[in-house]
């Protein structure tokens, strides 16, 4: 089989699908317990406001995040996924976030190969002290996903029809 350039495949998602009025995306945030989850708690304690689209799932470490979780999220309930861990070098489990970073890059390539827009899944480093940063990250991800519109590709209900 001839190799196909990546950019030819990325266009499977159809941006022309018009979002229904008042449509709000669902974003799943998978956060590590020690940095990003604590950071998101700090956003709350500091009363910093951000868009309400994100649903947060707590995991011990970003290295716990199986690519399966991302695929399952996009396939079932989510329009986008944010994975967030400790800053490089700060991992509570010494090296976990390095594994997470490498695995995430590969997963992202796979997802864009099968046709998802690259902004559907995003990765960030948020420390336990970065409450304002977490709010900014969520606002940006939400905005990106809103621009992309509802995710129809590979959604289970579409296969059922």
């Amino acid at each position: 089989m001839e190799a196909v350039a990546n950019n030819q495949l990325v266009s499977i998602e159809k941006p022309e699908i018009v979002a229904p009025p008042n449509w709000e995306p669902v974003i799943i945030g998978i956060l590590c317990n020690w940095c990003s989850y604590a950071g998101s708690d700090l956003t709350g304690t500091s009363r910093i406001q951000y868009p309400p689209n994100i649903r947060i799932i707590r995991v011990p470490c970003s290295s716990r995040v199986d690519p399966w979780f991302l695929i399952k999220s996009l396939q079932t309930t989510a329009d986008g996924v944010l994975v967030s861990g400790c800053h490089p070098g700060d991992c509570h489990y010494i090296t976990g976030n390095y594994f997470a970073r490498r695995r995430f890059l590969v997963t992202k390539k796979l997802l864009s190969f099968v046709g998802f827009h690259e902004d559907r899944v995003q990765f960030s480093w948020v420390s336990a002290a970065e409450g304002p940063k977490f709010a900014k990250v969520v606002a940006k991800v939400t905005e990106d996903i809103k621009k992309l519109g509802p995710l129809h590709l590979y959604k289970k209900e579409n296969f059922d029809k």
Binding site: D41, T45, R55, P60, T77, R103
Partner: protein, 657 residues
């Protein structure tokens, strides 16, 4: 069939003002597994917890969801409520509707309520997949290893041993005492350092619970909290400590002279030596690098003069092993080499010395009998210039941080100079005077009055020679002018830096270290003596520069932590760790590679029951596993599961939104 109870908290007005808690309850009741749902003003209060306990019994709940604040806040509280009602505490899930909803979506009650409902729904779905977990008991070896025999190590060892816990104290050099043994007097009280330190050193040597291993290094540490095994290399001393009486005949007759490290190379020691007269243990060692007998095979004088026959030129390094439960790292610090300060003529002018060299000279047991001299001509200096922050707070040439102790010891040096050399005068070039500490500011103020030293705020730009004097040119920023001081002697307060082998030791122990090489504490404020690795603690300058009172306090804190760890025969450990299902394990060992703790090993099991053919599977050491879940994500046969964050739990959360 799962029977879930949901308890929604108002948190006073914190949640109820921004989330419609009644609507949350109504929506959640529609989930078919939810058998009971209610809300209450303060779920964490005793009446709130009582509602949970009652409902568990009345509705025969199989799991509980509390929708309230962050699990990082009250997870323990609610787990205990479950436990009190006779339920496994790990059947609890918390929906964080305060930090993640009511506090961050205060302008949109509808959206905040919708989100809260989703979060509760996710928690309910997760809780259905929760399993009963039980705390793990790990046996504890009640013996502590203290690495480093300076004041930090001495204090930690004595405090632990006084609690009747055996201690193994390993010191790299031939004697304990560390840097403090090199000091003359200590700020801010001008106590004689030796007078307060040497009794403690003797206590260490004579303590029935302390095993002192001098002239040794830790080579390996394996195992986990409560169950470490340390491999220690005892370097060959070529002297049998059991028979040696420390009489000193050997080092008096030894013909080889070597620069004396204890006195910063100002005088010489012999090739067979004790580092200083009050050394503990007071037994000599042979410096194999310089001994004629060991290098050239000629001499043997020490063996001839030793009446006890304690000299053994054929002694070899010895490896010993000790089983221990906890480690205190107290390896101290080094001093920065001021060579990059070329404009000061460091290395070219003999009369520029470091503070520790000055300290040795003014010490009563020092190489010059307590009087400072100029290394160039042996004259007693009258005008001495002290320059602070050499390497400290200097991003260009040295390090960024403040070394913390230099302001105080330089003040002390001006006093010592004033006492020991009548008619002398001190000039101090400084950036700031940092005298935060009990009695410190008073000490500086008093010294400035008593010694009438000239304090010049500014950096020195150049030092050059004129005749036999040194001219120190610098800026006095307070008058905004360049000043020149004629000096007999210049003393550089060099920065405190971590030992060169600190990162190696940190890697060996499995603890993290910062960009400078200091070992990292678990939390900068709330866990200052623990490392991220359970059972390993930090005392003294291994962690960051600090003075003697702080070091002693930290060492005692380490001892308290060690005693706490050893207070029971077994230790309780969080059960949220990984486990392997042998049925599925293919033995690929990907998990072994990613485990940051080396907690996964392989074992051989029969192919089937009774079969003689064996296959390899992964095995997780419960004591070592910290529950990060790296192994779960790389396991391609899905044989590993992480309790508390298993695949079914997380997938349930994802699909339930």
């Amino acid at each position: 069939m799962a029977r879930v109870g949901v308890f929604v908290c108002f948190c006073g007005a914190n949640i109820a003002d921004f989330v419609d808690v009644n609507q949350v309850v109504e929506e959640v009741k529609r989930i078919k597994e939810v058998k009971f749902a209610t809300n209450y003003k303060y779920m964490c209060s005793d009446p709130g917890q009582q509602q949970i306990r009652d409902a568990i019994i009345q509705y025969r709940l199989t799991s509980v969801v509390v929708a309230a604040c962050s699990p990082r806040m009250h997870e323990k509280t609610f787990r205990k409520a479950l436990f009190d009602a006779g339920m496994n505490p790990y059947l609890l899930e918390i929906a964080n509707i305060r930090e993640h909803s009511s506090w961050v979506h205060q302008k949109d009650k509808k959206a905040a309520t919708e989100k809260a409902i989703d979060l509760v729904r996710m928690a309910v779905a997760k809780s259905i997949a929760n399993e009963q977990l039980h705390e793990i008991s790990v046996p504890v070896t009640k013996r502590a290893l203290v690495i480093g025999g300076g004041i930090a190590g001495i204090q930690a060892a004595l405090d632990i041993a006084d609690a009747r816990i055996p201690v193994v104290l390993v010191e790299k050099s031939p004697s304990i005492g560390g840097k403090m043994a090199q000091l003359d007097e200590t700020f801010p009280t001008l106590d004689c350092s030796q007078c307060i330190l040497t009794p403690k050193m003797v206590d260490v040597a004579s303590h029935p619970y302390i095993e002192l291993i001098p002239y040794a290094e830790v080579l390996e540490l394996e195992g986990f909290v409560g169950n470490y095994k340390a491999k220690i290399k005892k370097k060959a001393s070529y002297v049998n400590f059991k028979t040696c009486t420390g009489c000193g005949a050997c080092w008096q007759k030894c013909p080889v002279k070597v620069p004396n490290e204890y006195n910063m190379g100002i005088d010489k020691r012999k090739a067979i030596y004790t580092p200083f007269p009050q050394a503990v243990p007071n037994k000599p060692v042979i410096d194999a690098e310089h001994c004629n007998m060991l290098t050239k095979g000629k001499c043997g004088i020490c063996a001839k003069v030793c009446e006890k026959g304690s000299i053994d030129y054929k002694m070899q390094d010895e490896i010993i092993e000790r089983e221990i439960g906890a480690v205190v790292v107290a390896t101290g610090y080094s001093l920065w080499d001021p060579k990059p300060y070329e404009e000061y003529g460091v290395g070219r002018f003999k009369d520029i010395i470091t503070s520790l060299e000055f300290e040795r000279m003014v010490s009563a047991n020092g190489p010059t009998g307590g009087v400072p001299i100029r290394p160039s001509d042996g004259q007693v200096p009258k005008n001495v210039v002290f320059i602070k922050c050499i390497g400290s707070r200097d991003e260009a040439k040295g390090i960024e941080y403040c070394s913390k102790i230099c302001c105080m010891y330089t003040t002390k040096h001006t006093i010592l100079l004033h006492h020991k050399v009548p008619g002398s005068h001190s000039y101090v070039f400084y950036m700031d005077i940092r005298a935060a500490g009990k009695g410190y500011e008073e000490f500086v103020k008093k010294a400035q009055v008593d010694t009438a030293a000239t304090y010049l705020r500014g950096r020195v730009s150049k030092i050059y020679k004129k005749g036999d004097k040194l001219i120190v040119r610098g800026e006095d920023a307070q008058i905004g002018q360049v000043v020149e001081v004629v000096a007999d002697l210049v003393v550089l307060a060099t920065a405190v830096i971590p030992n060169k082998d600190n990162p190696d030791l940190a890697r060996l122990l499995g603890v993290s270290y910062d960009k400078y090489g200091y070992m990292s504490e678990a939390h900068p404020k709330l866990r200052p003596v623990e490392t991220a690795k359970a059972g390993i603690f930090l005392a003294g300058c291994t962690q960051a520069p600090k003075d003697i009172p702080d070091t002693v306090a930290q060492a005692s804190a380490c001892a308290a932590k060690v005693c706490g760890l050893f207070s029971g025969d077994t230790m309780k450990k969080d059960p949220m760790i990984s486990s392997v299902n042998n049925e599925f394990c293919s033995g690929c060992q990907n998990c072994v590679k990613v485990c940051p703790y080396g907690a996964i090993v392989t074992e051989e099991i029969p192919m089937s029951r009774g079969s003689k053919e064996m296959r390899t599977v992964a095995k997780i050491n419960e004591g070592v596993c910290q529950g990060c879940g790296s192994c779960v994500a790389v396991c391609r046969s899905m044989a590993i599961s992480l309790a508390g964050f298993s695949d079914p739990q997380i997938i349930n959360e994802i699909v339930s939104i």
